[in-house]
Symmetry: C2
Subunit: 107 residues, 2 copies
DNA sequence: ACAAGTAGGCACAATTTTGTATCCTACATA
DNA sequence: TATGTAGGATACAAAATTGTGCCTACTTGT
C-alpha cells in the first residue's frame, strides 16, 4: 500500500506522488474515453495482476481521481470512470505519451 | 537501483518508467533554468540524501535526460544540465505543477 | 455435474526502492 | 595539526511496492 500522509515538498512532488506507481498512468489513460469495467481493465492493462488492479483502483479512488460504481447484480458488475480531477490529468498524460512515442521510435 | 531493461507496454508506461521515482520530477524541474552544481541540488531538493541524489542523477544521465560535466579541480566541481530530450519534458512537468498547485490549494 | 465468468479478499513472499553510517581525495584555511 | 570542502563510494539495513497462490458466491452454459 502506498503510504498515506506523506508530505509533498512542492506541487511537482505532490503530483508525482499522486500519479506515481507502476500502473496508475496507464489506468488513467485507458479511462480517458469513458467507462470501463474491472474485467476490461484487466485485459487491457497488460501485465497487471488482479490484486494490483484492485489495489491501484482503490488508491486512485481514495485519491479522488476515479469513481467507482457497483451494481448489485450477480455476477458482479463494477464500473470505473475518471472524476473531474482525473480528467484534468489527461492532457498531460497525453503529452507524456507523445514524448514516449517519440523516444521509443528513436530507440 | 532501478531495474534496467524493463519492457514498456506502451508509450505512457515508458514515459512513467523514465521519470518515475521519488526525486526525478523535482530534479528535472529544478534544472529547467540552467546549470546546477551537485551541492546546489542537494540544498534545494529537500529531504534528499547524498546517496539518493547521486544515484538519481546517474539514472537520469544514463537515461539521457540530463548531462553531467566534471571539472578536474580540487575541490571537485560537477555541473548538471538538461539534455534536449530532458528539456522536452519541462512543459509537461509544468502542467503537473499547475495541477498540483490547484489540488494543494483545494486541500 | 462441472467448468467458466465476475470482482474481488487474504496471507505471505519477493523485489525494488530508499535510507544510514562510514569512508575517500586533495587542497585550503584556522 | 586539525578541520572544512565538494562530490562522491560502499556496505548494510529498512521500508515500500509488487507478485503468488489460494479462496469466495452466484449464475449461466455444456
Amino acid at each position: 500500500m502506498i503510504k498515506k500522509n506523506k508530505t509533498a515538498y512542492c506541487p511537482v512532488d505532490y503530483a508525482f506522488q499522486r500519479i506515481g506507481g507502476k500502473y496508475k498512468g496507464r489506468i488513467l489513460w485507458y479511462l480517458k474515453d469513458g467507462i470501463m469495467r474491472y474485467g476490461e481493465l484487466k485485459r487491457i492493462v497488460e501485465g497487471i495482476t488482479p490484486k494490483m488492479l484492485t489495489q491501484t483502483l482503490r488508491e486512485l479512488e481514495e485519491d479522488k481521481l476515479i469513481m467507482r460504481k457497483v451494481y448489485k447484480e450477480v455476477p458482479p458488475r463494477v464500473e470505473y470512470r475518471l472524476s473531474e480531477t482525473g480528467k484534468e490529468l489527461i492532457p498531460f498524460i497525453d503529452q507524456m505519451r507523445i514524448w514516449g512515442e517519440k523516444q521509443m521510435a528513436m530507440e
